[in-house]
């Protein structure tokens, strides 16, 4: 009797140890399906070998599924055909919830898979710099577009959509146009507090406002909607509640401006508070025509992708060295110069520009 008890006890003990041993083995599993799901985008086409004379290239957005990045890919494809590059141009990006780690992973994989040039819209801050440096050491061309690597480490050239200082001036001008001669009070609704490009634009806006010409514009507050519709929508309404005399919300983010305009429309506030900033014509056409967002601006992402491709291709083929002062032809877009980036100490840039300002007269045509 006692013997069977001991047997049972020891079996229980072994069983519980087995269980304990199994548990940690099971635990990491949740990561597996998640990683698998994000994987196919990153790996499947990357097997392409460097063929003949071609330059295998990768265009990497911040993450997949956002219209403007797809437009940039269209532009890059246009340049790809124009230049007759026989190798493949891949559009590889992480899924939204995995943006930072995914970008670094794709960059690292590209380095080992024979890709000769990569164009990055960086969403990983300086965290991507070590991977970018490793890619450079392996002989790859690394160009950033849309959003640079802040320290410029590992990056050869940044293709800037617009001059960051000009962004400040364009926003201040739109505010003055909307608020009229007497000026007024407004607030900024940005993306996330650590988005490098947004912060640079807001800093430029604040700098512009110091000019006496804009003395009657008062910036009340800067809030962040994290490029999420819910957060941006709530923040826009909170601004209205906090500042009863505010007349304008300036949102330098496509998600923020659309959410703010919808919030004003839903709450019947469009007569009282206008919305402006950087937006996509297709998303804004309704609000521009009904007066909620009478004016907003943006650059062409198709052109940005096209120009980025030219820069990366010419760097990869040795036609450009990536030093200050070099000029080059970029197909239909004309002549550009590599210059020092005034917003980053160590960086070089190619400046695209200019802005298109949209209002009721041209927004419908642009939204098609």
């Amino acid at each position: 009797m006692r013997k069977t008890n001991i047997v049972i006890l020891s079996m229980l003990l072994i069983f519980s140890m087995l269980l304990a041993a199994c548990a940690p083995a099971v635990a990491p599993a949740p990561a597996a399906p998640a990683a698998d799901a994000t994987e196919p985008a990153a790996t499947e086409p990357a097997a392409a070998e460097a063929t003949g004379e071609g330059v295998p290239m990768v265009l990497m957005p911040k993450f997949l599924g956002i219209l403007v990045f797809d437009q940039a890919y269209q532009g890059a494809l246009e340049a790809h055909k124009e230049l007759g590059n026989p190798a493949e141009l891949q559009f590889l990006g992480p899924t939204p919830e995995n943006s930072v780690a995914g970008q670094i992973e794709i960059l690292t994989n590209a380095t080992t898979q024979g890709v000769k040039a990569i164009m990055i819209s960086n969403n990983a801050g300086d965290q991507i710099a070590p991977a970018a440096k490793a890619a450079r050491e392996a002989g790859m061309t690394v160009v950033t577009w849309d959003s640079p690597i802040p320290s410029a480490e590992g990056e050869q050239v940044f293709v800037a959509q617009v001059d960051f200082n000009e962004t400040g001036k364009v926003m201040a001008d739109m505010a003055r146009n909307i608020l009229g001669e007497d000026g007024g009070k407004f607030a900024v609704l940005s993306a996330s507090p650590d988005a490098a490009n947004q912060n640079a634009w807001i800093a430029a806006l604040q700098e512009t406002l110091k000019d006496p010409a804009y003395a009657n514009l008062e910036l009340l507050d800067i809030v962040y909607g994290n490029d999420q519709s819910e957060d941006s929508y709530n923040q826009a309404l909170a601004l209205v509640d906090k500042y009863p005399d505010m007349e304008l919300i300036m949102a330098p983010t496509t998600v923020g401006i659309a959410a703010a305009a919808k919030a004003m429309q839903d709450e019947g506030l469009c007569d009282q508070v206008k919305v402006s900033g950087l937006g996509l014509p297709a998303e804004m056409v309704e609000f521009t025509l009904n007066g909620c967002a009478p004016q907003f601006a943006l650059w062409s992402f198709v052109d940005l992708g096209y120009l980025s491709y030219y820069v990366a291709y010419k760097l990869a083929t040795g036609e450009l060295q990536g030093v200050e002062g070099e000029t080059f032809e970029a197909g239909r877009m004309g002549t550009y110069t590599i210059e020092k980036d005034p917003t980053r100490d160590a960086g070089l840039r190619v400046l695209m520009g200019p802005f298109t300002v949209y209002d009721a007269s041209n927004v419908e045509a642009a939204s098609k």
């Binding site: 939204p96 819910e230 709530n234």
Partner: protein
């Protein structure tokens, strides 16, 4: 006191405590924020809580069975996007069909979770983490980087958010909030009185006993996941109506917000305890804090998230301390009763834990 003890269970008192907490927080912010006590504040909070409240009810059904559904964020985004895309190509679909479509789509995605958890016996956290990524990735792939655009949607949908169902004094009850209210009341009723609802508690309190007692546990868990998916689909419709422009990141993070609402609302993460109404209160508590903090000038943007977390922790901690005291008081009381009287007027799954 005894009469009171007999009438209320600790869980009901917990809900009263939550309501008191919500009022306490509202009173505090009322002294801090100008014009806080206005119908406008009510509208702001009621409209912004609708999506999470609906998802939290479904989440509660699943958590009651000692499971969890982390895929709801992707289901909300997926239905909002796909229903929006279908609608923008065909503006004439009747509204009822649109809602049914969203619910059915969510239910189908929930069914896959339920199938794997209930019949495949894979832990829910693994299944739903997998489908969280899976549904989002499918969405990203089929979207072709297009967005759902407000101006392509039918007018009735775009103009839905300001629609009022009725007024309570000065307070507007908006349609989207009303949908959430109906969901909460309906599922509170099912969880409290319907046999299926009571079995959720039984399974969560003691799965083995429920199996021995002959409950069709697998089927009940399966149905709970389907309902959680269906409600996430409904929330996807509300999301679409509220925001109009839908990108592939829509609904990201809703899964954690719904779990937070349920847990703050007293739903035990180990199953068997809590209620849809509690989860609703939890969602409101978090939303009140969140929406008040962004209007409070004394606090900087960068500290808001930390403060929100701290306040939630405080709320839950206070709640736990009070609840533990109450439970002890109740169980002492029960011992006394069972010592002196032979008949026990209670039972029920409330006390199983």
């Amino acid at each position: 006191m005894n009469a009171l003890r007999r009438r209320f269970q600790p869980e009901q008192i917990r809900e009263l405590v939550l309501i008191a907490l919500i009022f306490g927080i509202i009173l505090f912010f009322g002294t801090q924020i100008e014009n806080y006590f206005s119908p406008r504040t009510f509208t702001r909070i009621s409209t912004s809580v609708a999506v999470v409240a609906i998802v939290a009810v479904g989440q509660t059904l699943v958590i009651l069975t000692r499971n969890i559904d982390l895929s709801v964020g992707s289901i909300v985004g997926f239905t909002a996007y796909v229903v929006g895309t279908i609608l923008s190509r065909n503006n004439d679909i009747p509204p009822v069909m649109v809602v049914l479509l969203a619910v059915a789509m969510g239910a189908a995605m929930g069914a896959l979770n339920g199938l794997l958890v209930a019949y495949g016996r894979v832990p829910a956290i693994i299944v739903t983490l997998g489908t969280l990524a899976l549904y989002r990735t499918i969405l990203v792939e089929i979207s072709g980087a297009n967005s759902v655009l407000t101006n392509e949607l039918p007018r009735w949908l775009v103009n839905l958010p300001p629609v009022n169902v009725f007024h309570l004094g000065d307070l507007d009850i908006r349609l989207l909030f009303f949908i959430a209210l109906v969901v909460v009341v309906l599922f509170q009723f099912i969880a409290s009185y319907a046999a299926w609802g009571r079995r959720l508690y039984a399974i969560g309190s003691n799965p083995d006993a429920a199996r021995v007692a002959g409950f069709p546990a697998q089927r009940i868990v399966f149905t709970a996941f389907i309902l959680s998916g269906a409600l996430a689909g409904l929330a996807g419709f509300v999301f679409l109506a509220r925001f109009g422009n839908i990108t592939v990141v829509a609904g990201q993070g809703v899964e954690l917000q719904s779990v937070a609402a349920a847990v703050v609302g007293g739903v035990n993460i180990n199953g068997g305890l809590g209620s849809p109404f509690g989860a609703f209160l939890g969602a409101i508590l978090i939303d009140v804090i969140d929406n008040s903090l962004i209007r409070w000038l004394a606090i900087s943007e960068f500290w808001r998230d930390a403060l929100l977390g701290l306040l939630i922790l405080l709320a839950v901690a206070t709640d736990t301390v009070i609840m533990n005291r109450l439970r002890k008081a109740w169980s002492r009381h029960e011992l006394q009763i069972s010592g002196s009287e032979t008949s026990a007027e209670k039972g029920g799954a409330h006390h199983a834990a």
